[in-house]
């Protein structure tokens, strides 16, 4: 609810030179779990839609795809990895114009997603995340810009059920992202 209010508060400030933009990008991530000795790293891709001023504020919605090369939750011998992750995120962004070639920004948001797993009692796990990132836009012209960012995500997965215990595993993901945006 707080996040929704923040979004609504930001909307008036978006009108100045605001544009709709769409973006496409990808990167690499490394995820380490807190309660267990487990890690995952692979590639990701993201498609996003945003609205805002490249030099001020923006609100952004993205759908992420994370390739999964690890087997952290699945216990079945029928699979060598957990399923790939699909996530949806909402982010608020503040960028800065220091009259240099690039436009640095900070971005915070939250998201949710799921991945398929193969366990006796569960075949899908959902997760929620809070994320923050630092990045830069590299404007090519009024419509196109490249984007480079570093993001940290704190993830909480749906509890794993072992009858005796139900444990919600937490992890931290470090993510490097490069992409291109088109504004109109």
């Amino acid at each position: 609810m707080k996040q929704l209010l923040l979004i609504l508060l930001f909307i008036p400030s978006l009108y100045a030179d605001a544009k709709v933009y769409i973006g496409l990008g990808g990167g690499g991530f490394s995820e380490s779990f807190h309660q267990i000795d487990a890690s995952s790293s692979s590639e990701m891709a993201s498609v996003k839609v945003g609205y805002g001023d490249r030099k001020a504020y923006a609100v952004e919605f993205s759908i992420d795809y994370y390739k999964n090369s690890s087997k952290i939750f699945s216990s079945s011998n029928d699979t060598t990895t957990d399923g790939d992750k699909i996530g949806f995120n909402i982010n608020l962004m503040k960028s800065f114009d220091f009259n240099i070639y690039v436009l640095p920004y900070i971005k915070v948001g939250f998201g949710t997603g799921y991945l398929d797993i193969q366990r006796e009692l569960q075949d899908r796990l959902t997760y929620g995340s809070f994320q923050g990132s630092l990045g830069v836009f590299l404007p090519l012209n009024d419509h196109f810009d490249f984007e480079v960012a570093y993001e940290v995500r704190e993830n909480t997965y749906e509890a794993i059920d072992t009858i005796d215990t139900k444990t919600a595993y937490k992890s931290t993901t470090h993510l490097a992202y490069v992409g291109v945006n088109y504004r109109f």
């Binding site: 487990a38 790293s41 690890s70 087997k71 216990s75 009692l121 794993i160 595993y169």
Partner: protein, 208 residues
């Protein structure tokens, strides 16, 4: 920002994505659940016996899950299940019979064991002196069950009454203290197993 910087960013994403990957889950998974007790039988006069359940994981470890699974009886008219802190208590509600008890977890794991309730056939009573008026006297009672099990201690489910010539001052299933109130040639002692239910069975004895 030059193109070389952008290339550096691309290289960074590549290295980040080449980190460690866990190849085998460190999180144990359920393999089976079982009711620990085998060949379960209880006397119709037992108050309750405890049953426990256990989960076996894929690393061969086991844990108690008695309070985390659902327990059900195949015949609710013969047996009542009650959850206690560390076990399930099963109480007979009929004099004799066979049924199954099942544990279930999310309709994925189940286990079933059979339970036999031993039928109470007859009772043995210690004697009293009915000419001794006004003095409390104790009658000790044991049970004879099916398959010739004799002199079994009685724990519960039996309720006692006596005719108007005497007064019961203290009672439990296997012991009655009564006082003869007046001169009489006999005293009728009535025992009711599972009283006021469809399973009620009466055991009467007359003392002379």
């Amino acid at each position: 920002m030059k193109l070389s910087h952008f290339s550096l960013a691309l290289l960074t994403t590549f290295f980040i994505s080449c980190g460690d990957n866990t190849e085998s889950t460190p999180i144990i998974d359920v393999q089976s659940i079982t009711i620990n007790e085998n060949n379960i039988s209880l006397y119709a006069t037992d108050i309750a016996i405890p049953l426990t359940a256990e989960v076996t994981y894929n690393d061969a470890t086991q844990r108690d899950i008695s309070s985390k699974v659902s327990w059900s009886s195949s015949d609710i008219y013969k047996l009542v299940t009650t959850l206690s802190t560390d076990a399930v208590l099963v109480t007979p509600t009929t004099n004799g019979g066979d049924l199954n008890i099942t544990i279930d977890y999310k309709e994925t794991f189940t286990d079933t064991k059979s339970i036999h309730i031993k039928e109470l056939i007859s009772l043995n009573y210690s004697d009293i002196n009915i000419s001794d008026i006004g003095t409390p006297q104790t009658i000790y009672i044991t049970g004879n069950f099916e398959n010739n099990e004799t002199n079994v201690s009685l724990l519960g489910n039996l309720y006692w009454t006596v005719d108007t010539n005497a007064t019961i001052t203290e009672t439990n299933s296997s012991q009655i203290t009564l006082t003869i109130d007046q001169n009489t040639s006999s005293i009728l002692l009535s025992g009711r197993l599972f009283p006021d239910t469809e399973s009620e069975v009466d055991f009467n004895n007359t003392f002379y």
